[in-house]
Amino acid sequence: MINDPDLGLIIRILAGEQHLYAQLVNKHKSYVYSLALRVLENKSDAEEAAQDAFVKAFKYLAGFNRDAKFSTWLYRIVFNTAISYKRKQKVKMQSIDNVHIGYHQDALEKNDKKRFIEEAIAKLNEADRVAITLFYLQEFSLEEIADITNTPANTVKVRIHRARHRLAEELKGILHQEALSL
């Protein structure tokens, strides 16, 4: 059985101490929001999807398999919620072109390494972006990422490797353009 640090809180929440869920939200909100943002590439949609995911997780908390890790379970909900938002977003996107707004706003934080990396990540496809985010931000294992995204571990491994390769290529391109614009 996994020794999950969140399990104590979960048991108390299920026993009726509902207010303690705020502690779980505070602990995981940055990861949850970052993951949703990677999928949706839009700050307001990501905020809404992240909140939705937390509400869903609370609703189904009683059904959470306590042998598993809470964060893996939660991120699976976040991933699925963000994907369903993305589908809705695609329909909306036909008329409103608001993708990459988040990254353009981020671009205001100019002249740092983070900006270039973010730009390069934004150019990856959705599956690669999510895999690389989970791999580097939360340092999940390949198996855990496979579990969250419901993809075979081998595919996840290929995605991460491919994403790293593309990131290197993209960064070279971005840095080359920056150098040319100087």
Binding site: L37, E47, Q51, F54, H165, L171
Partner: protein
Amino acid sequence: MKKDFNDSDQKLFDYLDGLMTIEEKKLFEESMRQSPLLQKMVEEQRLLEGSLKTLRLTEPSPSFTNNVMSRIKESPQSYTLSMRNGILLLVGVIVVSFLAVMLVQSGVFDGSTALNMNNETGLVGKYIKQPLPSVSISGKWIVNIIVLINMVLGFIILDRAVLRPFFERRMRHS
């Protein structure tokens, strides 16, 4: 110009992630010594890895937690069985099963009721030529099935509401 992801890239990442055996590592380092291009690729990828590890999380709005908690309060409560309610329900199930068994044993349900479709419906002769078979219902069997269902229900409640929370609490304290 973009290159496709291939086996040599796979080896490069396996090398960076420390996923190679000693032999494979030696071979890879030997090819690195012989190929300045491969050496350059490894160095570039190492730099990128370093940058990716410095990626920071993005913070949601300051009211995020409050918004989640108020949405939870607004949404309908999910029903969870508390230990107290579980025990009460379990006692109820046991009492019902016990009473049913007592009644069966005292012979209350020994007789069987025969349902004669021919007289009840009045359809025979009118619409159906052949007489319908009469159905015999045994009360004892029905009550026995109810007792069996109750026992299964009792075991589920015992597991969900009593045993599981008890062992989890004990594990937490140990």
